[in-house]
Symmetry: C2
Subunit: 223 residues, 2 copies
């Protein structure tokens, strides 16, 4: 059963597996040491899953691993990047120029990972034409021609919730293949345009859960 789950859709990892692969990548880059190898237990502990889960996930990307030797950090990193399709760069346009958009533009992590923001758009005529982070803000009406000329494949939505669906439709019409949605609402797209919604409440919930666990454990120890 577990094998089926990991390898659903004939060898393609599930979304849940893909998420863990991203988490493993972080551990591989932050906890690699001079040996150039990392045991499954290090990955398991850092991500909070079982050793067996790590080995299943990594077998699914063609890295069976050798018991007692650990994974080759460089090979494993490359294999995961290939599976996640981040072994090549992605160009994205950003719609919305509020605080979150400005925070994203300053966030150097994206660029390092191969995600480049190549165009900045807004609906507000007062903001169009302004310069933010060395980019001129363009009118959202010009998305169709700009997406093509900028060779952007992804769109990032940072507009308020009530404008998000309209912007998503404009991005789809302009030909993007995927949307990263930061608006606190669901947006719908045709099946051939993927959407990943970033819901920051989930992170807060995970923190509440973990703090709750620590508290429970301390009570058990002192009771």
């Amino acid at each position: 059963v577990s094998q089926k789950q990991v390898k659903s859709r004939g060898g393609v990892p599930s979304k849940a597996t893909a998420f863990r692969l991203s988490q493993y990548l972080r551990v591989l880059s932050s906890e690699a040491d001079a040996t150039g190898r990392m045991p499954s237990s290090t990955l398991a502990k850092a991500v909070g899953v079982s050793d067996a889960q790590v080995r299943r996930d990594l077998a699914a990307v063609g890295q069976p691993g050798l018991r007692g030797v650990g994974y080759d950090v460089e090979h494993l990193t490359q294999a995961i990047r290939q599976t996640l399709v981040i072994h090549r760069p992605w160009r994205a346009v950003l719609v919305g120029t509020g605080n979150l958009a400005r925070a994203l533009l300053k966030y150097r992590g994206f660029q390092k990972q191969g995600f480049e923001i190549v165009g900045l758009f807004d609906v507000d005529a007062n903001i169009v034409g302004q310069c933010i982070d060395a980019m001129i803000v363009m009118n959202v009406e010009t998305l169709p021609s700009r997406v093509k000329s900028l060779r952007a494949e992804l769109g990032v939505i940072t507009v308020p919730a009530e404008a998000a669906q309209d912007v998503a439709a404009r991005l789809v019409a302009a030909g993007v293949r995927g949307i990263l949605n930061f608006a606190p609402t669901m947006v719908r797209t045709p099946a051939n345009v993927s959407v990943v919604s970033v819901d920051l409440s989930i992170q807060f919930e995970q923190l509440a859960f973990q703090v709750g666990q620590v508290h429970d454990q301390q009570h058990k120890q002192t009771d």
Copy 2:
């Protein structure tokens, strides 16, 4: 084996299960209909895991479900909120007042979920004393007394990477029990203070992966 994974630490869900529980909550609130019931298949499809995984996860929070009848949306929502320890409010202080902090303050989703930002702090003497979103920015030096008087249990870090570890240490010394870290770096805390790091690159990677899958499928269909 799967049962062990879900129920590791004697009935407490793993971090990976807790993350899926958060995702199920989103689906329960966005896709509930007039029947007040939801089949495991709806949850499975929306989150991208198998039906069996959904049933195992929900059995672990005491909701076995009835085949063919679906889950009671309200009961299940309450059970998950209790497991994630979000059935009661959490008070948090925010350190850093840049674009990301301002975006978080405007983001109404948190308040609705029971996470309240009750204090705003900065290291910059030029910003301390300013009013942002109806709150006076306080000096980070005053964290120990303020965290107590504000009855804050959580800290949110939105300072640049190079300042993050220092701020984390100050929050720990001030007595917070958990930290939500938006700085693009790892911060270390004692074992009794949980840290959840928000790495927005992971979301971008998940989008690249999903777009890559759509592309592959289309090629297979047309080849």
